[in-house]
Every structure is written in structure tokens, then in C-alpha cells.
């Protein structure tokens, strides 16, 4: 452990109100900590800049699941393990199940939270592509009040979010897909477990009369933020299943993304593989049984 422990302080408020008041009193002074699976890595390496930690774990308002006929609302403290225990998640959001299963290993799944995955804002995080594909919204709360923002507008730049220093992410809300749907998720890490994504693609499509009427493709690790492949989506929406413009979509997705060379993969590899995975997704979509 390279951090100097006495340099750090931690507070654990018992209610949301108390937490929000603390944040309001000194905006930016506190670093919220949920499962700690991102923060403790930095701490161990002596690279955690925030010296005052606000432990969210006792705040019950950030927990719990609300299952409505039309949507599912998850408390931001929900862990991967808890996510995997939810019947509604399996039934309506299979990509989220795959994201959770592909995250770290069991110990991380037991501690890591959905809220932490979102706010850590790593472009390589594995649930954001699924949240994007399902059109998620996030609820932000502060002493000033509460607001809902569309998740695809939440990430604004590398580790920059539509999140004020006095705000917490309270809930994540997902509309339940209606009608005939197609779900696809693929994480490309270098190994089968405990891997950081080099490319991650999640897609949800709605099919009516063998035509793609709705498509959302969420991508990870190929831009400074998790993002929607809007150009590729546009190329496909409105097309018939047996005439999907795979090559056109492959070209379009290259316009959507802006990958870089880093320690895990080259930009070129990410470009080629994003196109390939998108093509694979569209082939599967084209072959979807609709009867």
C-alpha cells in the first residue's frame, strides 16, 4: 500500500439528507465511495487525490429496486451480484446480465456497484454500453433537489459528466422493452475473466414486421466516453432484417468512434474489431427469428 493512511479521512452519513448537506456545505471537498473497487486501486497505488471520503454504504435511499410494468428503477448502490439476482433484469435486460457477469470476478461483483461504474466514468467500463443500449436515465440528487438526465447525455468528455460536485447518482431507470426485441452484448478483453475491455458493444433492436424500427448501440473503450453509435444506428433503422446494410453500418461506426492507442490495444485494432463486432451483431439480427 503506497498511500499514507493518516492523510485520509472518511465519514459515513446515515441518511441521504445528511450526505447531501455535507456535500452542499463543501462542494468538491468530498469523494463519494460506494464499493471502493475503483477508488481503492488508486489508494493502494498512492494515487487517490481526494483525501476526504464520503461513504455511501449506509444510505438506504440509494438502494432498492422498483419494478413497474413499464420500467425498472435500480438504486445506485446495487452491486453486480444483486443485479444478477433480479428476475426482471434477466427477463428484460439480458445485456445487463452479461455486463455484470463479464465484470471482474466474484469478489468484485460482490462489492462493485452500478453507480460506481457509471461515475468512475472509465471509457472501458462494461455496464455503460448496456445502459446506453437500453435508453437508461439517471437520477441526480443534491440538497438543491433532484433531476433525471438521459444516460446518453451524461458523459460529456473524458471523466467529465453532467454531475455537479454536490450531486450524487441516486437511481438508474430503464424502460422495459416492448414487443419483439433483439439483444446483443460482446465484451472483447484479452482474456476470458478479469479483463479490461478493449472493445465492448451492446445493442438492443426492436423489430416490427421484420423491419428494424428501433436500434441503440452502446460502445465502450473506443472513445473518451462510453457512447452511442448514432451513425451506425441510423444506417440500420428502418431497414428490413433480410437486407441489413452491414458494410454501410461498418463504415458509419468508424465515424462514431475515436479510439486511441494505449497499453491494452491499438487504435487500429479497436477500429477493426468494433466494425467486426457490429457486423457480427447485424448478422445475428438479420437471422433473428421473428415468428
Amino acid at each position: 500500500m503506497r498511500a499514507f493512511l493518516p492523510d485520509y479521512a472518511i465519514q459515513a452519513p446515515g441518511t441521504l439528507d445528511e450526505a447531501l448537506r455535507m456535500l452542499a456545505a463543501e462542494p468538491g471537498a468530498w469523494t463519494p465511495i460506494a464499493g471502493g473497487t475503483d477508488l481503492m486501486v488508486l489508494f493502494n497505488a498512492g494515487r487517490l487525490p481526494g483525501r476526504r471520503l464520503l461513504d455511501l454504504s449506509r444510505i438506504y435511499e440509494l438502494r432498492g429496486i422498483e419494478d413497474d410494468p413499464s420500467r425498472l428503477s435500480l438504486g445506485s448502490l446495487i452491486t453486480y451480484t444483486e443485479l444478477l439476482e433480479q428476475r426482471a433484469v434477466h427477463q428484460f435486460f439480458p445485456n445487463l446480465v452479461k455486463s455484470a457477469r463479464a465484470t471482474g470476478a466474484l469478489a468484485i461483483q460482490n462489492r462493485g456497484t452500478l453507480g460506481g461504474n457509471i461515475v468512475n466514468a472509465s471509457p472501458a467500463a462494461d455496464t455503460p454500453p448496456s445502459l446506453l443500449a437500453y435508453g437508461a436515465e439517471v437520477q441526480l440528487v443534491s440538497a438543491r433537489g433532484s433531476r433525471w438526465v438521459a444516460y446518453d447525455a451524461f458523459h460529456q468528455g473524458y471523466k467529465k459528466m453532467d454531475l455537479a460536485p454536490d450531486e450524487l447518482v441516486a437511481r438508474i431507470r430503464l424502460p422495459k422493452p416492448q414487443g419483439l426485441g433483439f439483444h446483443f452484448y460482446r465484451k472483447v478483453g484479452t482474456r476470458q475473466a478479469q479483463a479490461i475491455s478493449k472493445v465492448c458493444l451492446a445493442a438492443y433492436a426492436r423489430i416490427q414486421d421484420r423491419v428494424v424500427t428501433e436500434l441503440r448501440v452502446g460502445l465502450g473503450s473506443v472513445a473518451p466516453v462510453p457512447l452511442r453509435a448514432r451513425r451506425a444506428e441510423a444506417a440500420v433503422v428502418g431497414r428490413a432484417l433480410d437486407a441489413l446494410p452491414i458494410e454501410e453500418a461498418r463504415r458509419a461506426v468508424l465515424e462514431d468512434i475515436s479510439p486511441i492507442d494505449d497499453i491494452r490495444a491499438s487504435a487500429h485494432y479497436r477500429q477493426v474489431v468494433t466494425g467486426n463486432v457490429l457486423a457480427q451483431m447485424l448478422k445475428e439480427l438479420g437471422a433473428a427469428r421473428t415468428a
Partner: protein, 750 residues
């Protein structure tokens, strides 16, 4: 009573403690008043240290600071060549970016860590030399006249005229990357220094493979005789060669801090420091030119083998030697020329890692044989069958195959185990389908020389012993260390078998240089074969002493033996017998000409791999892996199979994923997140078959097995990839998804 202990899977001697969590590793040892040490490193690949500044922010008066000026003896880590300083002195040269410059200690590790960040080094930077080709081309000269740390030439006949006349000449260049040993337990060392009647007395204990290497290093560092140095090997959480030479550096550092502070000092590297600063497998570049006749018979080999040794000599001469001696592989070849060089670069010194140079040169030759076969329109299996060594053939050094290595039989068994021909047929059909997953199968045939190279064992003249204790049990006295490979268990089995006792009557004495003789380093697949045989002698000596002393009558049962030891103790006080290495008659080696018997014997193997490549992501999945090896005698089947499976896992990692990324001479991916070793989910079922040929040199006929499994996987995998993907430039490991994409694009554009 007949007791058979050799060949039984007796339970690991230290297994219980490890499983129950009671085993005490060095970091679990708390000495009263112990300080925690930190290392300030150069952070610049090449330059001159001009000065050191201590910034404000910690109570410097509480912190012990050691510089090169505090060294009582010689500021060089004892080794083949004295060129590596323990600490860079002010005014001295910096030769790599992780070079220790200054040491700090404090009772609170965090304070020491904070202090580490407050030391500024004033360095005049010089342009570094960072790779093999630049070093060979003498782009800059950083060592001697040509950047060559060691050069070896092996010659048999004269290949040059053969190339001119041969039906086929095939050339290839092959590269392998550095690899991190990644033992579970990072390096930890504890030092204490006392002022005894004769002067300084230095004790170091910790995680280390070779107690007497550390012993030598401490003698030289402190300028004191061996009686005043004590080295204790504690429980070790893996090593794989990575704790062969570097522990001497850390031990020296801990002891220097202990001398200065007057308190015990522990230095425990965390994973990041351990990965960045300590030794790796040598990166290599091998050029092979080979000549064949029209039928595919190998006529000549011209091999240029180069290793990146890093900034100092360390173990590079011996790693190079083993690499050179395995470079021609398992093939009969009348005319051979091998030029082997280890070059200096401004990177942290490379060191020992399971296989010790052999995986690098065997990767090249085994990949090359496949390339040659395809080039000549032959089946790679058939080309190998035609050319493998048989009884009476000579290897590159002139070593005669006194017995048949049975290589064709090994190939048959491995191919049967994986169902090679059936897979090939099925894949030929399936790979034509419109499916992005392509499959292939490939194999490698190889050997590993057991024990030290050439005259190494004779020079070392190892000693090991056994002690009859008053309670009627027997202790094994050897400096060989347990790093997970099973030495404790196997040594006890050998002694128990020789004495006709159950294995629970025998256990290991603590590996402490004060009590155990120098049985040599725990390296080179030598412990079972070489030290095991010395122990056999020592145990026979014990029995003989009891019989001749009238304490024991043969035949006897364990109870009688116990009684005899008690009685002998009462009368003699102590009961220890020793054995020493005996040269094998008829074997000769000339270190100057590199002619003769390079190893007393070899373990032989054929490995076959089945792979699937997904052309969507270029990821490779190893679907099946079969190993068949001839290892003389298997002393403990469970432990032996574990050695093979573990080695294969490391070989698969090296072949497909494990890449040390250097940036300006520093490891940039020194974290488990980005240095990708395989998980259980990435590994296939690894099939293990042993053939037991027996060997006259090891105890009960055993040969070495520890390193063998590291040699075969990489070439077998890349040969399988060739089978799956067609004619690609598969000339390098790790063959990562990025490289596969790159090679496919290259082939498409060609």
C-alpha cells in the same frame, strides 16, 4: 518389509501449512523494532548521477538513509562478473531506469513511502540503448567494445558449402518477448546486523531460491568471511527463477539499512515495484538458415541467436549457454554453426525464468521446422519424423546419443492423445464454412538438458546430507529451497526410499546456511536429479554407519531403525552423513570449445495444441493441449503432473498474451490489470502423460522436469495457428490478437 515411496503421490510436506494459512512467509514475520525499507530508483534509462536532494515534508531525522557511501565492502552484487552495483554512487553511471540509488527506512511504511517521493535525483541524461538490434548494430556503445555481454560459438562440420549445393534453403527470423515470472508472493527480505566479537555478523532471511548465492553476495558487500553471514530461506510463494539472483540485491539493501539503523529491516516489494524492477525472461531474436536435401533431410543449420541481457551481466552468460545448446533442437544435422550473443541494453537486467534461454531458441527452431516443411510441401510431422535424433546420432556439440530418445514414439503418443489426424481432417472441412472461427492443430518436439550445463555440476561440487535425530526421525540437510515445485516432498521420498522408511519419518531441516551444506542453487531442473542422487548416497551412508556401528541389523523395520538412531545418538552425540556430487564416468565437456557432453541427459517431449481463432476479434482459444514426456522416473505423480500443467500454463501465456511493454526502458504495464497472464477460464484441459525410460544419473532413475513444460507450448501454439490461418508471418511471441490482425493484413496486402 518392502516400502515403496518413490513413484507414490505422497502428500506435499508443507502443503498443510499453506492450505491452512499457518505457513509464515517473510512478510508475516514480525521482528521487534523492525523498520520497513524503501528503494529510490534511478527513473532514467541512462545517465550520470550528479546529486541527491531531500525535499521537506517528512521528519528526515527519523528516517534511516543509506547511499553507496555507506557500503562497508564492495559495491557489486557477486555474480559471474562484478558489474552491477548495489547502489549507484553520486558521480556514478546510471545504466537502467530501475537502478537502486538510495535506501530509506522507517517504522511506518507509509512514512518511508512518502519520503521516497521526496527524494530528487539530479541526473545528467544520456541517450539510452533499448533493443537487441540497436545493440548489435552498435548504434551506441554502452558495454565493452560491442555491447556484447557474452558470446558463444558452437561448430560442427562446416555448413557454408552445404548451403550452396542444397536442394532447399529456408531462412527465418523469430522473436520472443520478455516475460514476468509473476510468482504469487512478491520479493521480501529481512536483514539484521549485529556487532559480534569478530566484527559484523549479518543475517538475512526471506523469499529466495539460492541461499548460497545470497551468502556470497553478503560476504562481498560487507567484506566479511562466510562464518559471519547467515542466510535463511523462509516459506516461499513461488519463484520460477525470478528469485534466483535478485534476492541478493534486496538482501544487501535490507542488511545495509539494518547496519545503519541498528535495527532489523524488512524490505517488501509491492507488485508494481516487483514487476518493474526485478528480472524477466530475456527477449530474443533468432535467425535460422537451414539446408535440406530433396527428400527433406536436414543437412545444415546456421543459427544466430541473440538475447537482450539488460544493463548488467547477471546470469546472461549461463542463460545464453543453455539457449545456444538447445538452438539446434532435437534434430540430427551434420553441419551446424551457432553464434550466440547476449547484448547489453539500458533495461533492467534479465534473469532466470523457467527454461533459462531454452524456450527462446526452441521456439525458433520448432517454428522454423514447420515453416520449412510447408515451404518444401511436406507435412510438418513427417519432416520431423525424418530428422529427429536417434541412437548414435550426434548433437551440435558432438554429444553422442548413447540411448535412443524415442522421439517418434513420443510424437505418436501425443498425436494419439489429441487425435491429431482426425482434428486435421475435421478442421479442413469446417474452416471452409462461413464461420469466423478457424481451427488448427500443431505440435512441437523438444528436449530440456537436466542439471547445470557442461562442467557446471563438477565445479559446483554440491554437498547434501541427512541427519538421524534423537527422536528417531531423519532430517534432510540441503540448501535447495521449496518454491512450490515439491522439493521438500520429493527429497523426503528419495531418502525414505533409500532407507526403507515411511515418508513421514523423514522431513526437511530448515534451509539455513548455518545448518545445511551448499547443495547448490535451486535451479536448472537439477534438484531431484542431482541433489536427489547425492541424498541417496548420504542416506546409504547413514544406513551403513548404523549397520557398521552395530546399531542396526539388516533387514530391519522402521521401528528397529528408530531404535538404532536413538542408540547411536546416545553413544555418538550426533549422527549426520553427507554425500557429494559424483561426475558421471565417460562424460566430458570442454567449456572453451563448446564440444562434448553438454548435459548428462535430457528430458524429451512432444506437445500438441488445438486452437480456435475468432476472426471477429482475433482472439485465440486453446481448445485442447496434450503433453507426452519422457522424464526418466516420476518420483511423485501428482507433483510431476502439477509441474507440467503449471509450466504449460506459463508457456501458453508467453505464447499468446504475456507482453512486457517497455516505455523508455521501463515496464509500463507493471500491474496485473495490464500484464495479461491466463486465468483458469483461458486454459484448456492439459493432458499429461509420462513415459518412464529410467536414467542412470538420477535417484531411482529420475531426470529433471521443472523447466521442460515451458519449452514446448509456444511453438506448438503458433504451429497450430498456422494450420488454422494459412500462410502468415507467425514469427513472434506473444502472438496477441493485435499481432494476428497485423499479420493477416500484411498477408492480404502482399
Amino acid at each position: 518389509m518392502e516400502v515403496h515411496v518413490i513413484g507414490a503421490s505422497t502428500i506435499r510436506k508443507e502443503g498443510r501449512g499453506k492450505v491452512m494459512g499457518s505457513a509464515a512467509y517473510a512478510d508475516d514475520v514480525d521482528l521487534p523494532g523492525c523498520l520497513l525499507g524503501m528503494t529510490v530508483r534511478s527513473r532514467c534509462a541512462r545517465g550520470v548521477l550528479k546529486g541527491i536532494t531531500f525535499l521537506e515534508g517528512v521528519p528526515w531525522d527519523e528516517i534511516t538513509v543509506v547511499t553507496a557511501a555507506d557500503i562497508p565492502g564492495k559495491n557489486f552484487v557477486a555474480g559471474h562478473v562484478d558489474d552491477q552495483p548495489f547502489l549507484v554512487p553520486v558521480g556514478g553511471a546510471i545504466a537502467h531506469a530501475e537502478q537502486p540509488v538510495l535506501l530509506l527506512a522507517h517504522a511506518d511504511r507509509a512514512v518511508a513511502e512518502k519520503a521516497r517521493r521526496l527524494v530528487r535525483l539530479d541526473v545528467e541524461e544520456l541517450p539510452p540503448l533499448l533493443d537487441i538490434e540497436e545493440a548489435l548494430a552498435c548504434v551506441r556503445v554502452i558495454h565493452g567494445e560491442r555491447n556484447v555481454l557474452k558470446e558463444i560459438r558452437i561448430a560442427k562440420g562446416d555448413p557454408e558449402p552445404v548451403f550452396a549445393a542444397a536442394a532447399h534453403v529456408v531462412e527465418g527470423v523469430y522473436r520472443t518477448g520478455a516475460q514476468e515470472q509473476l510468482y504469487l508472493e512478491p520479493n521480501v527480505m529481512i536483514g539484521t546486523v549485529e556487532h559480534g566479537p569478530a566484527g559484523l555478523e549479518v543475517t538475512v532471511s526471506g523469499s529466495l531460491q539460492c541461499p548460497y548465492y545470497v551468502h556470497d553476495a553478503m560476504k562481498q558487500l560487507f567484506g566479511i568471511p562466510g562464518e559471519r553471514v547467515r542466510v535463511v530461506a523462509l516459506e516461499m510463494g513461488g519463484a520460477f527463477g525470478g528469485k534466483e539472483d535478485y534476492p541478493s540485491v534486496i538482501a544487501g539493501h535490507a542488511a545495509l539499512l539494518a547496519l545503519k539503523s541498528g535495527r532489523p529491516v524488512k524490505i517488501a516489494y509491492d507488485r508494481e515495484e516487483d514487476m518493474a524492477a526485478t528480472t524477466k525472461r530475456h527477449p530474443s531474436r533468432t535467425r535460422i538458415r537451414s539446408a535440406f536435401d530433396a527428400q527433406g533431410r536436414l543437412l545444415a543449420l546456421d543459427i544466430d541467436f541473440a538475447l537482450d541481457g539488460g544493463a548488467f551481466t547477471t546470469l546472461s552468460p549461463v542463460v545464453l549457454s543453455r539457449g545456444a545448446l538447445h538452438a539446434a533442437g532435437v534434430y540430427r544435422c551434420p553441419d551446424v554453426r551457432i553464434l550466440a550473443r547476449a547484448v547489453a541494453t539500458n533495461t533492467p537486467p534479465c534473469g532466470a525464468f523457467r527454461g533459462f534461454g531454452a524456450p527462446q531458441s526452441l521456439f525458433a527452431i520448432e517454428r522454423h521446422m514447420d515453416v520449412c516443411a510447408r515451404r518444401m510441401g511436406m507435412d510438418p510431422v513427417e519432416l520431423r519424423r525424418l530428422n529427429v535424433l536417434r541412437q548414435g546420432d550426434t548433437m551440435a556439440t558432438g554429444q553422442v546419443m548413447r540411448e535412443d530418445p524415442g522421439l517418434e514414439g513420443l510424437m505418436d503418443r501425443a498425436m494419439a492423445a489429441i487425435d491429431y489426424r482426425a482434428l486435421q481432417k475435421a478442421y479442413a472441412v469446417r474452416n471452409a464454412w462461413d464461420d469466423p472461427v478457424k481451427r488448427g492443430v500443431g505440435l512441437s518436439v523438444f528436449m530440456h538438458g537436466c542439471g547445470f550445463t557442461g562442467s557446471g555440476e563438477a565445479t559446483m561440487a554440491s554437498v547434501a546430507g541427512v541427519e538421524g535425530r534423537p527422536d528417531g526421525t531423519v532430517a534432510v540437510l540441503a540448501a535447495s529451497t521449496e518454491m512450490g515445485q515439491g522439493k521438500n516432498t520429493v527429497f523426503c521420498q528419495i531418502v525414505a526410499e533409500t532407507l526403507g522408511l515411511p515418508v513421514d519419518m523423514v522431513d526437511m531441516a530448515e534451509v539455513d546456511t548455518k545448518y545445511v551444506p551448499n547443495s547448490g542453487p535451486t535451479v536448472a531442473s537439477r534438484s531431484t536429479m542431482v541433489v536427489g542422487r547425492i541424498l541417496e548416497d548420504a542416506a546409504r551412508g547413514l544406513r551403513l554407519a548404523l549397520v557398521q556401528g552395530g546399531f542396526l541389523a539388516e533387514p530391519y523395520d522402521p521401528e528397529a531403525f528408530r531404535e538404532a538412531m536413538r542408540a547411536a545418538h546416545l553413544k555418538l552425540g550426533s549422527l549426520k552423513t553427507y554425500g557429494q556430487y559424483r561426475a558421471n564416468p565417460g562424460f566430458a565437456w570442454d567449456d572453451k570449445t563448446y564440444r562434448g557432453d553438454a548435459y548428462p541427459n535430457f528430458s524429451w517431449a512432444c506437445y500438441a495444441a488445438a486452437v480456435a481463432v475468432d476472426l471477429v476479434t482475433f482472439e485465440v482459444k486453446v481448445e485442447d493441449f496434450a503433453t507426452v514426456q519422457e522424464v526418466g522416473r516420476v518420483v511423485n505423480p501428482t507433483l510431476a503432473a502439477g509441474q507440467i500443467q503449471g509450466g504449460v500454463a506459463q508457456g501458453i501465456g508467453w505464447g499468446l498474451w504475456e507482453e512486457v511493454t517497455f516505455r523508455e526502458g521501463r515496464m509500463a504495464n507493471n500491474q496485473l490489470t495490464n500484464y495479461i497472464i491466463p486465468t483458469a477460464a483461458d486454459l484448456p484441459h492439459i493432458r499429461v502423460e509420462f513415459l518412464e525410460g529410467g536414467s542412470p544419473f538420477g535417484p531411482g532413475g529420475a531426470k529433471g522436469i521443472g523447466e521442460l513444460p515451458m519449452d514446448g507450448p509456444a511453438p506448438a501454439l503458433l504451429n497450430a495457428l498456422r494450420d488454422a490461418l494459412g500462410d502468415l508471418r507467425l514469427d513472434e511471441v506473444p502472438m496477441t490478437p493485435e499481432r494476428i490482425l497485423n499479420r493477416l493484413e500484411e498477408a492480404r496486402h502482399a
